[in-house]
């Protein structure tokens, strides 16, 4: 299956062994989108690499930037200003919603419902408009800078976001009725794609896939960064460990993100967004491992500096890569027709897998 199958979420090839309609084994064949982003980092300086960080998981560009910027700032010993931290958290959460909306629509398509995608994209459009106003682009934002942001928020940003926060929970309730409560969708996802917590541990699965298996692990809580300790939000978990559980986790997470956004809007402090950074970024030799929670799981950035102005070694721990590795486990004894639905519920991003 693949590498251009319309429902494989990018360029992925699955090598299947089948017995009639039953799947005996699945071997994902990856690497079609490999662009050697880790090697590129060794030739660019710390500032120049930032736009490349967007290109790991292109639906979660802000989250990737956050991770990379956090690693560089730790290495340099820079602490961003409070306003900058709040805005960064806000952007990351907005991006989480936007990413989950794509997931939501894509899963609906995978299970045969096209309408939901259009509604999801309508709401996502509101977020993308906000991103566009703030960062100047709709997908590859390059909004964060080492030591701050490209610019402060545009004037009507907070109003737009408030409007979004007001309508969005209603919309999620609508999706819920339309898709999650739908009998056909439920038979396609319930008790399908079982992933036990033990398997999840063995395969290093993180993110909604893990929380769908009943483990309340979230980097935002386990290793809090920026203002997350001050924020109130729940980490939704479901113990059914099937596609439906993962789906419900994401649906719940969108609402939790809205909660975070509302708190961000209420608490957003004034002041500067940028701190002074030297023109040439030359961190002391050392290494750092920074983690953030991306919509797909734990995103880590291992960065080694040798004292020069470009990274000596950069490695990103991309969540889709590890989640996809557990995908064959979820597909044991599934029907062929369910493969795509399971893949949709794992929510991989091939740019994130192949790097």
């Amino acid at each position: 299956m693949g590498p251009q199958h319309p429902s494989t979420h990018g360029v992925l090839r699955l090598i299947l062994t089948i017995d009639g309609e039953k799947v005996r084994s699945v071997v994902p064949d990856i690497g079609y989108l490999h662009s050697s982003l880790e090697k590129i980092a060794e030739q660019l300086d710390y500032r120049q690499y930032l736009p490349y960080a967007d290109r790991y998981d292109y639906l979660n560009a802000m989250g990737n930037e956050l991770c990379y910027v956090r690693a560089v700032e730790t290495l340099l010993g820079i602490e961003p200003t409070p306003r900058c931290q709040w805005i960064r958290v806000m952007m990351a959460e907005m991006n989480r919603i936007a990413s989950h909306l794509v997931y939501y629509g894509a899963l609906a398509i995978d299970t045969g419902a096209t309408t939901v995608l259009l509604y999801c994209f309508r709401e996502r459009e509101m977020l993308l408009n906000l991103f566009e106003a703030a960062a100047g682009q709709r997908l590859m934002y390059h909004y964060f800078r080492v030591g701050g942001l490209r610019n402060d928020l545009p004037p009507d940003f907070c109003e737009g976001l408030r409007a979004f926060c007001k309508v969005f929970p209603r919309m999620v309730a609508e999706y819920d009725k339309l898709l999650t409560k739908n009998r056909i969708f439920r038979s396609r996802t319930e008790s399908v794609g079982y992933l036990s917590p033990e398997t999840a541990l063995a395969y290093g699965v993180t993110g909604p896939c893990l929380r769908g298996a009943g483990v309340p692990y979230d980097v935002r809580r386990a290793d809090p960064y920026y203002v997350y300790p001050e924020l109130e939000f729940d980490v939704p978990t479901y113990t059914e460990s099937d596609s439906m559980a993962r789906h419900l986790v994401r649906q719940e997470e969108m609402l939790q993100s809205v909660r975070i956004l509302e708190q961000c809007l209420d608490h957003l402090p004034g002041g500067e967004v940028n701190v002074k950074v030297p023109r040439r970024l030359k961190p002391d030799p050392g290494e750092v491992y920074a983690r953030v929670e991306s919509p797909r799981g734990e995103l880590g950035c291992y960065l080694v500096s040798d004292g020069s102005d470009h990274p000596y070694r950069l490695h990103m721990r991309t969540p889709s890569y590890y989640n996809l590795q557990a995908y064959p486990e979820m597909c044991t004894d599934a029907w062929i027709a369910d493969l795509v639905a399971i893949l949709g519920s794992v929510d991989i991003m091939l740019g994130d897998v192949d790097r």
């Binding site: 050697s36 309340p216 880590g300 291992y302």
Partner: protein, 195 residues
């Protein structure tokens, strides 16, 4: 161990923490006998208070297994990566203590064409990262179940993430594509026909 997890969260400490943090006392109890046994386990530290152990290829599996069977086990392998440190290569294992967020790094130094025993027996998750490290750095993970290329095309020449790698355009499109050359054979159709 509890005070370790506190350290990384306090932002003021970032500047003050020297590049190498000595391991806290609790750690002496954990790895103390490993050190005493004459194993080459060194201690060091990432910034932000993440502890780090350095070891050699023939002892890494024992160390990993040991860390996995502690009272508070480091039983989740979150990440693996390689690094080229000039005269030698390095493999890094990022271990987590369950789902608590406590991180530990195990580093293995090895020669440029060295061998490390595979950790796939302990964690199936090591499968892909090890394949990736193998193709990117040219070291070998002995006992790996399927040591084929993962991200790079089959027949790629050289190890791209090594510092001395020079991209050779000549080898650009050398991937043999069985589907293009003989799709029937690639799909195994011929054999079935003959049966």
């Amino acid at each position: 161990m509890s005070d370790q997890s506190q350290e990384p969260q306090a932002p003021e400490e970032v500047e003050e923490t020297p590049a190498v943090v000595p391991l806290p006392d609790e750690w002496q109890a954990v790895v103390g006998d490993l050190l005493a046994e004459g194993n080459s386990v060194d201690q060091g530290g990432l910034r932000r208070g993440v502890p780090e152990l350095v070891t050699t290829p023939d002892q890494v599996l024992g160390l990993l297994e040991r860390l996995r069977s502690l009272d508070e086990p480091y039983n989740r392998l979150t990440d693996m990566c390689g690094a080229d440190l000039g005269d030698h290569l390095q493999v890094l294992y990022f271990l987590c203590q369950g789902y608590t967020g406590k991180l530990l790094v195990v580093k293995v130094n090895l020669a440029r064409d060295g061998e490390v025993p595979t950790a796939t027996g302990l964690w199936p998750v090591a499968n892909w990262p090890e394949r990736e490290i193998m193709e990117m750095f040219g070291m070998t993970f002995t006992g790996h179940p399927e040591p084929a290329h993962l991200l790079l095309p089959e027949g790629w020449v050289g190890y791209p993430l090594r510092k001395d790698y020079v991209y050779d355009r000549e080898h650009e499109w050398t991937r043999p594509d069985p589907m293009r050359e003989d799709p029937e054979q690639a799909l195994g159709l011929e054999e079935e026909d003959s049966e």
